[in-house]
């Protein structure tokens, strides 16, 4: 009984904490395995370089495209599309979702419709969007919007609905009017969950980027990937994928920081 737990016991105990240094080491090891495996497969010619570029080639391409500014230009275009689509979607989905989760009278008409639409594949709407709004940046923004909005609406409505009834009841006994409850109680109570929803759907918005740039785009990371495919430039495709992943990671971290700032009280 008196014997202290060994490091191994700690590592293999469900939910047990591990030292921060161990966690960092494990995370680094994972990247080394992934990149090492890639290096092995590509440098060792296990997979022909035509299909799998070496890490060195990808770095060279990244360096070259950074120097001439094209990487920055395409990244900026893509980020603009994703952020605009995401912001327009969120600005509508947050208040509407709050209403939907709060008032049955809003939920009843919207929910069946939204649940129908959100299972439709975004790609099937691309031809329609092109007919309706042309091939400008608006069309790409529409794809991102369409991919995220209906998911956001349902998730944010759930955030609002799971606010404790007694919290709202308590606010009434303290003088909150019915019309004030959404703003004074339900919104702040649901805020951490809403921010988590936004963080998750932001990730989804990035995944729709290539779909959005599939047709009729003339710049952007998805666009250069498609162009590179035609020219068998796998190194460019790898670079574009890595750039999208990196941007996703940055926005994700930004959302984590925002949540810690805006809702420091939430676990």
């Amino acid at each position: 009984m008196a014997q202290r737990r060994t490091a191994w016991t700690r590592l293999t105990t469900p939910f047990a904490n591990i030292p921060a240094s161990t966690a960092t080491t494990l995370a680094l090891a994972m990247w080394i395995v992934v990149i090492g495996g890639w290096a092995l497969l590509s440098y060792g010619r296990v997979v022909p370089n035509m299909f799998l570029p070496t890490p060195g080639t990808v770095l060279q391409t990244t360096y070259r495209m950074s120097l001439d500014g094209s990487l920055f230009y395409h990244t900026l275009t893509s980020a603009k599309v994703v952020l605009l689509g995401f912001i327009v979607s969120s600005v509508i989905a947050v208040p509407l979702g709050l209403w939907m989760g709060t008032y049955r009278a809003v939920q009843a008409p919207l929910e069946p419709l939204v649940n129908f639409i959100r299972y439709l594949p975004v790609t099937s709407f691309v031809p329609l969007f092109i007919l309706w709004i042309g091939i400008g940046i608006e069309q790409r923004i529409a794809v991102i919007f369409f991919g995220t909005f209906f998911q956001q609406l349902v998730m944010i409505s759930d955030c609002a609905r799971s606010v404790s009834r007694d919290l709202v009841n308590a606010s009434y006994t303290l003088g909150t009017k019915r019309s004030e409850a959404v703003w004074h109680v339900i919104f702040p109570a649901a805020l951490p969950a809403i921010l988590d929803t936004l963080r998750v759907t932001m990730g989804w918005a990035w995944t729709y980027l290539v779909v959005a740039e599939l047709v009729a785009a003339s710049s952007g990371l998805g666009y250069i990937s498609l162009k590179a495919m035609r020219g068998f430039q796998v190194d460019v495709i790898f670079m574009a994928i890595a750039a999208i992943g990196l941007l996703g990671l940055i926005t994700d971290t930004a959302f984590r920081i925002l949540r810690a700032r805006v809702a420091p009280w939430a676990p």
């Binding site: 308590a170 006994t173 303290l174 909150t176 109680v185 809702a263």
Partner: protein, 297 residues
Amino acid sequence: MGTLIMNATSQTAAGSRAAMTETTKANNPAGVANAVGDPRSAGTTMAIEDVTLRYGDANGALALDDVSLKVAKNEFCVIVGPSGCGKSSLLYLAAGLNDVTSGSIKVDGREVIEPGPDRGMVFQSYTLFPWLTVRANIEYGPKRKGLPAEQRRQIVDQYLNEVGLAPFADHYPAQLSGGMKQRVAIARALANDPAVLLMDEPFGALDSQTRGTMQKLLLRVWERQQKTVLFVTHDIDEALVLGDRVLVMTARPGKIKAEIKVDIPRPRSMDVILEPDFIALKRRILGLLHDEIDEDH
């Protein structure tokens, strides 16, 4: 031996006062003064008349069957009953959080039709606003009322001290223990200066030591603040330690089965549970509740 008043529609104020003074003297040879006097001399604050509650529609299960009771100004009135008897439902009705099926509830003569700050409530579950600090939680009601900042600060400071949480004013609820959360909840409800304070098993989720501490604190606050309290619990000790009067409810559908006047002198210490008067009252209530549980099976 304590005075038991069965199935009583309230005695006249004068008679009750006399009876209480008598028993206080008799039971209290040490001569400790009754700190609050007889609460019933001051008139009725809350009147519940012939209240019936059915769950769902008019054909739903009967939860409360023709319940009538009065709570006098500054009285500490406790309702005990078996679980599921509808005692919490009665409190939600009094708060205006649910609608009665028939009957009426009046507070200071005004009919209850919706919730309002004149009926503060402390819930069994923790209902502090997690996004507000302790101070801001207590300030919430006065802020809704539109009181000026300086006055709000005074009220908050007063109640922070009253519940002994001044050092935790800037903490968030997540950083507090269960007992501390309920202390803030009491302070928050009192900061609104409600006509009646409704308490729905507020200490039910706490461990027994903390519960004792909280009862002591609530008694101290109540004796100083002179509030009208309607308190619901299933804990007989708690009912007798706190109450001026204990109403025993039947199992579903809930009805008031008996009214027991607790003439144990105040201020009460927690040791009161060992005294013969207390035990006699407890035995009486246990008997009433056991009948209920037996009838149920």
